[in-house]
């Protein structure tokens, strides 16, 4: 069976400062950050990457947290595992959509060791947390030595396996604002086999007005249907300010579908994935609406 054949220098960090210092030192070197390494180790086994340095941040316990307050919303530290997110009482109470999403991420074993931020940084276009974070209007904090910037979740991944994180930088936190009243969020992914990479995935947030009739805000995130997770802005616009009917949702789903640019693969063609994205938007939109009406 395959092992990692190419040697690397192993640089564990115990604190964020240490990690940023190491990153600054090795800014120009061929390095990789490892958190859980659930994708990285496989990539190294297959010699797809052969870094000279591995900067290990798994030990940064100060970044392993999930906090919430109404004012600043939710904060997810960069070392939070998928499993922590899935099982967190805060998440189950305030953002159950994230727990729902997590239940179908790979396997329990992967979720136990792999981190949410690591998954985002790996930047597979089908990454499960991508669409719900877009729908929830999440921000991602990227830190370098002595500097920090915050980017929108929808901007974070720029291409296949490429993000805004630059050499010398790392992600430290995800922030999600508190949900306005009368909001509903739903996420689903479709893969033929459970727990598999999504052929397409969709998350929809709908916020209704006081009367719970009109849609005052909508956000739609899609996964697996482009070179990075996609925000379906045109479809969102279609919903905003209107009373959401099944027809309108179907229309928005059609528009969202046109906002995708999937590629054909072994499992399905681009055309299929495009249609699938629309179907999923329609389905999760309906559920998000029902949740918003109950909220």
């Amino acid at each position: 069976m395959k092992t990692i054949v190419t040697d690397f220098e192993y640089l564990p960090a115990k604190t964020v400062e240490e990690a940023l210092e190491l990153l600054a030192q090795h800014k120009d070197d061929d390095y990789k950050i490892i958190a859980g390494g659930q994708s990285l180790n496989t990539a190294m086994k297959h010699r797809l990457i052969t870094p000279e340095y591995i900067i290990d941040i798994k030990g940064l316990s100060d970044l392993d947290y999930i906090t919430f307050d109404e004012k600043s919303g939710l904060r997810i530290g960069a070392l939070t595992t998928h499993r922590s997110l899935e099982k967190s009482p805060i998440i189950r109470d305030k953002y159950p959509v994230l727990a729902e999403m997590e239940e179908n991420v790979a396997s329990v074993e992967t979720r136990n060791w792999g981190t949410v931020v690591g998954d985002l940084c790996n930047a597979d276009p089908a990454v499960d947390p991508g669409p719900p974070l877009i729908a929830l209007d999440a921000k991602v904090t990227i830190a370098g030595k002595g500097e920090e910037r915050v980017v929108d979740a929808e901007e974070f991944a720029v291409d296949f396996f490429e993000t805004l994180v630059q050499p010398g930088e790392m992600v430290t936190e995800i922030q999600i604002p508190a949900l306005p009243p009368h909001s509903g969020v739903c996420f689903t992914k479709y893969s033929q086999i459970h727990g598999d990479y999504a052929l397409a995935s969709a998350a929809v947030l709908i916020t209704l007005d006081e009367s719970k009739k009109k849609c005052v805000n909508a956000r739609i995130g899609l996964g697996g249907v482009g070179n990075a997770p996609v925000r379906a802005k045109k479809a969102e616009e279609l919903l905003k300010g209107k009373e959401i009917t099944e027809d309108l949702l179907a229309q928005a789903a059609g528009v969202a579908s046109e906002e995708t640019s999937p590629i054909s693969g072994i499992e399905a063609s681009a055309e299929y994935k495009k249609d699938l994205a629309g179907t999923l938007v329609k389905r999760v939109g309906k559920e998000a609406l029902a949740r918003a009406q109950k909220a």
Partner: protein, 167 residues
Amino acid sequence: MKQQLKIVVNGEPYDLFVEPKTLLVQVIREMLGLKGTHQACDSSSCAACTVILDGMAVKSCSVLALQANGKEVLTIEGLADGTKLHPIQQAFIDNWAFQCGFCTSGQIMAAKALLDENPNPTREEIQEQMDGHICRCTGYNMINEAIRDAAKRLQSEKSAQSGKGAA
């Protein structure tokens, strides 16, 4: 360059030196000779190599050994109490929950992690826990039944013990 790895495996402390590229499964199988943990894929997709690391089921093929430094590992070899099989092991035998047996160690370790956390899981909860595991022989149903059976055995063992404690 080799680095120090202090690790407790099945209750035994080990002080080892490993190359940083070494994976936890290599420590378990090759350095410690615990061959009960199996590998069946190269893409972190089958969970055959599952062990329990500080109470969590993880794929030992996908964890750098040095990341397990200072931690405790439980492998299939550490499950039985001397010659007495663990109730999960016995339930796997009694329910014909394996055939070729190659994925079984991983299945049992994942089941152990589940039952430690949730002593009375539903079929759905068992399936969620076990979903990462490929078994090419059984079709899974008999594994699920074994885990439900094991849960019952563990609970009756526990109540028997607490009964003893009360007396």
